[in-house]
Amino acid sequence: MDPLSAFFLGVLDGLTEGLLFALVAIGFTLSYGILRIVNLTHGEFYMIGAVMTWVLYEAAKNPLYSLIIAPLFSAFLAVIIERTVLSRIKYAPEPTIIATAGLLYIIQQSTLMVIGPYSRSVPPPLSTVISTPWFGYSSYKIAVALASIMIAATLWIFLKRTNLGLRMRCVQQDAELAKNFGINVRKIYSLGFGLSAALAAAAGVLIVPIRQAHYLMGFDALLMSLLAVTIGGMGSLRGTFLASVMIGLFGGIVAVFTSPTTSRILSIMLVVVVVIFKPHGILECVKK
């Protein structure tokens, strides 16, 4: 393959990956925005989405069910975690990080007990190859990119146009004040955390046909979310989305010419450099 088409392939792959991980990262930033917590368990919800897709595929041979069931299950699990652990430590920053690190191990190791240390694959529901003059591209990846955009857009409309979304944004801005206006903050916390987990799980469902389901895959998603929120600005949905797409593109292009591992190292270094110059994210200057 000539360098130019390799470059375009990298752009497409990076874009798909960026959009997909944007869902995970938006979830991460949402839980930071509403509950003010750094949730290290976030990647595990993504892993649950992927693993459940495999389980449901084995059971029903139809991967489409899982797009509804897996996010709901993750959200349910997240609400339980929020009620039983996070609310009891009052969302204090450091204890929360310790507790979510603990939950990460519990979820990850329980999954290991259930499915074993194997990579499980599910065939993509769309197998047509879209051929361009230079290379063929999997139609499933395009569908994933479009689905990610649709889910993100739906979330955006939900937050901006519905009553519940308005309440969530109120809590995000000032939880104390929102409480005084009669908003049930406890409920919003649970809903926000559930929603954040559901987003991660949805991304997990979509990725299984591209990458395999494995009990350790959550770290990757967590790293991507951390990278995205660091340069997008913690709690900023728009910034996180943009940052995630940018990191995806960067990673995709670099990976074509080097290796995925090198591209990860370079992405991390890029983010660290951004932190030195813009400690509050790239959109900080736009806001002011």
Partner: protein
């Protein structure tokens, strides 16, 4: 009074550790060696956590710097084991000098995220250069490279006795460092920074310099632990620089009680023994790490030693 009690209990524990090697059977003997090596790491971590209240999720890279530099120097027959340890520890300090100015720009959640990311970059670099580092599979240190000429004698680092005492010596260095800081007035200043960084800065203290000092001490001692690990376990591998090995010292220090001198040792011993037992029953033994982290946060934030202190000793 309290200071004297701390010193006395510290000396008693060290004496017990020294004497233990004469009574332990081979397996507990090697387990104890591992515990002491890890306790160095926990003590190093506790400098940052206990005195400054800073949670780092990236210490595995300092541990890894010591581990890989020492291990690779010995495997590639470049220097003798003693110099390899010195160079390994020094390289962890260097890595600290290189990373601290960036990491210490941030605090709170951002510091945690940034440390986690940098250590992941280190981990991926180890994987990337797998032709040198051995990657995930790792490398084994050859037995014949581990003898050390000391004057007329020959110290054989492959013998259990030498490994045990090397680990003990490292532990003495690490715990004495914490004890010295603990006993000095300096710890009051660190406490002030822990409680309120801005106010301490306002009082005219150079907060950054003190944070840097503790951070470098912590990374150096983490490197010492990594160095000794490569010698005592005769193995270096990428799994030892993964996120797990950044979370472990946090758990060890928290379990034992952050900010105490003996806590990290107690926490490490407790958890290492439990994991050792659990790993013979199930492959998902790391679930114990998860359960203890949650249990700690929910019930005993002051750690095991802290809990015992407040409940029974009333110190």
């Amino acid at each position: 009074m309290n200071a004297r009690r701390t010193i006395v209990s510290y000396l008693i524990i060290l004496l017990i550790l020294y004497l233990l090697q004469f009574v332990l059977s081979p397996y507990p003997h090697s387990l104890m060696t591992r515990i002491m090596v890890f306790a160095i790491y926990a003590s190093a971590y506790n400098l940052l956590l206990g005195f400054l209240g800073m949670i780092s999720l990236g210490h595995s890279m300092y541990f890894g710097a010591g581990l890989y530099v020492t291990g690779l120097l010995i495997i590639n027959k470049l220097v003798d084991p003693f110099s390899a340890i010195i160079i390994g520890v020094f390289s962890a300090t260097l890595l600290g000098v290189a990373t601290a100015p960036i990491l210490l720009r941030t605090r709170g959640p951002m510091f945690i995220i940034l440390t986690l990311m940098t250590s992941l970059a280190f981990y991926y670099a180890v994987i990337l250069f797998n032709n040198v580092t051995g990657g995930e599979q790792g490398l084994v240190l050859p037995l014949e490279r581990l003898t050390l000429p000391a004057g007329k004698f020959l110290i054989d680092l492959t013998s259990p006795v030498a490994r045990y005492n090397a680990a003990l010596l490292g532990l003495i260095i690490a715990m004495s460092t914490s004890l010295t800081i603990y006993l000095k007035k300096y710890s009051t200043l660190l406490l002030a920074i822990k409680e309120n960084e801005d106010r301490t800065e306002l009082l005219g203290y150079d907060v950054y310099r003190h944070k840097l000092t503790v951070f470098l001490l912590s990374s150096t001692l983490s490197g010492l632990s990594g160095s000794l690990y490569s010698i005592t376990a005769r193995y270096i591998g990428a799994s030892l620089v993964s996120v797990n090995y950044s979370i472990m010292p946090l758990l060890w220090a928290l379990l034992g009680g952050q900010g105490t001198v003996l806590g990290p040792l107690v926490g490490t011993a407790f958890l290492t023994v439990i994991i050792d037992i659990a790993s013979s029953y199930t492959s998902s033994y790391l679930i114990i790490v998860g359960i203890s982290l949650i249990a700690l946060v929910l019930t005993a934030p002051e750690g095991l030693l802290g809990r015992i202190k407040t409940r029974w000793l009333r110190v």
